[in-house]
């Protein structure tokens, strides 16, 4: 028989290293020849999209098209530390460093342009990579022309910035601290499953996610993180199990350690709650790891809702479900007598 159930789980996730760790990121922004603005950061994009995010941030601050941004990422010779791509921290940390560096560059653009135009910065306007006096917008200088003039003065048009927030080490006795993490991401998922009580197979039908990520700098990217994280959570809930015996993994391949395939993808509906966080770039928070955490307990709850038996050990394989149903049946029969 097929039985359907619905489960819910809510999580909060403090991201960045936190706990007093000297976690920080450095970035720089400079006007470079050939009509580009160069951003340097060591942030590694392993597919989560940090380079897209910082391109957007730099373009937004400097009021240019994203195409004008060039990034040198992750080169120890050419970039300074941006910390690891872990702990769900890059958008927040490197995003902030890039935003500050871009703002530093923008301030310098105003500064040198006010010298060129013999004007005060409040009388200057900026649009699409040009700076001009508001009372005479036709007489404009591009960032790159300005950079040439600055160079003639023996200076250069660039800025470096870092983001180095303070966090507190939690009290070892109470585990409490004033600000243990820079911020928290909140995720709630409601998941609907169908359990086949003859085979024990669980199908995840629908996943409804609400994620408070502060601000979605790139909503499609955030959705992609949530969907990918959720499907990893489905794997953890239902199939992924590393079998280790005396230090040796007995299932070191993808036919004995199963991960979700396209056939396991549920239907998604995602709501992004943009409750801007004051410290993130444009109010953004991290979503990488938080995306995967609620899925497993929500599925476990949904299975309980469907079949009335709770399974406490992951993954919830068909064998475990059939065994639990059998035991429940026995108990039920006994109680019935």
């Amino acid at each position: 028989m097929k039985k359907q159930g619905r489960g819910i789980a809510t999580i909060m996730f403090g991201f960045g290293y936190g706990e007093g760790f000297p976690d920080h990121a450095i970035a720089s922004a400079e006007i470079e020849e050939g009509g580009k603005i160069l951003i340097r950061t060591a942030a590694a994009d392993v597919g989560q999209g940090v380079l897209t995010i910082i391109t957007q941030i730099a373009a937004e601050v400097l009021k240019v098209k994203p195409e004008a941004i060039r990034i040198i990422p992750g080169d120890t010779h050419l970039t300074k530390n941006s910390g690891s791509s872990s702990a769900t921290r890059q958008t927040f940390f490197t995003g902030n460093a890039v935003k500050e560096a871009s703002e530093g560059l923008l301030s310098n653009i105003y500064h040198y342009a006010s010298i060129e135009f013999r004007s005060n910065h409040v009388e200057l306007g900026i649009k699409d990579g040009y700076i001009f006096r508001n009372d005479n917008p036709k007489n404009k200088l591009s960032y790159w022309e300005l950079a040439e003039r600055v160079k003639e003065r023996g200076d250069s048009l660039k800025a470096e910035a870092s983001f180095f927030p303070r966090t507190d080490i939690p009290d070892p006795k109470t585990g409490q601290g004033k600000k243990v993490y820079v911020a928290y991401t909140f995720v709630t998922q409601v998941i609907e499953v169908e359990v086949d009580t003859d085979t024990g197979i669980v199908e995840v039908l629908n996943v409804y996610t609400a994620a408070d990520i502060g601000k979605a700098i790139n909503p499609k990217n955030v959705e992609g993180q949530i969907e990918g994280g959720t499907v990893q959570g489905i794997g953890m809930a239902l199939m992924e199990e590393q079998v280790i015996k005396e230090g040796i993994t007995l299932n070191p391949d993808l036919t004995s350690y199963l991960i979700p395939t396209s056939m396991d993808t549920p239907h998604f509906a995602t709501l992004l709650v943009e409750n801007e966080d004051s410290e993130g770039p444009f109010g953004a928070k991290g979503i990488g790891e938080p995306a995967t955490i609620a899925t497993t307990p929500a599925i476990a709850n949904a299975i309980y809702d469907a079949i009335g038996v709770r399974i406490y050990h992951l993954p919830i394989t068909p064998e475990k479900i059939l065994k639990a149903l059998k035991e429940e049946n026995k108990r039920g029969n006994k109680e019935g007598f």
Binding site: G47, G49, K220, G224, V231, D253, L254, S262, T265, F268
Partner: protein, 167 residues
């Protein structure tokens, strides 16, 4: 290890190359021809990262000996488009956000292309089945499915709502 010379057409180009009887097609493609778009995930025919099209069929190039490709026609990801001129399937992958780390992407795109050739109007279930031999650890597959739907729509409207096969 005995050496021998084989010939095939890869991405429209005729090649003659010396190889060994124990070289996998995957290594020939990556190491000898430097076509590194084709990836090695598992090396056991489980993940689809090494997918190429050989004689019109999707194959796992990690399971094929180079010598088996003698006389074959092969298409790798490099053969379907480049930065200047992308294939509509590639464009759709970019637009929908179907690429995260990109490791599964070349195989996914070839699987998608092959599926759309055979079935220009797949529904969601057919798309899922069509790429079920290609594992992706990053995306959760949804954006890939969206990309294939988008590409299918575009390709069929380009053909006046009909596929090439219908003609």
């Amino acid at each position: 290890m005995s050496k021998l010379t084989i010939g095939f057409i890869i991405n429209g180009q005729k090649k003659t190359i010396e190889t060994t009887t124990s070289t996998r097609l995957l290594d020939l493609i990556r190491d000898d021809l430097h076509l590194t778009g084709t990836k090695e995930g598992c090396g056991k025919g489980e993940c689809g990262a090494c997918t190429v099209i050989m004689n019109g069929e999707l194959v796992a190039s990690c399971l094929i000996l180079a010598t088996q490709s003698d006389g074959a026609v092969i298409t790798t990801i490099e053969g379907i488009g480049d930065n200047e001129c992308l294939d509509p399937v590639q464009e759709a992958f970019i637009e929908t956000g179907a690429v995260q780390c990109g490791f599964c992407t070349p195989g996914m795109i070839l699987a998608a292309k092959k599926m759309l050739e055979e079935n220009p109007h797949p529904d969601e279930e057919e798309i899922k089945r069509g790429i079920s031999g290609n594992l992706c650890r990053c995306t959760g597959y949804q954006k890939i499915i969206d990309a294939i739907k988008l590409a299918a729509n575009r390709l069929s409207s380009k053909n006046g709502g009909r596929s090439e096969k219908d003609d």
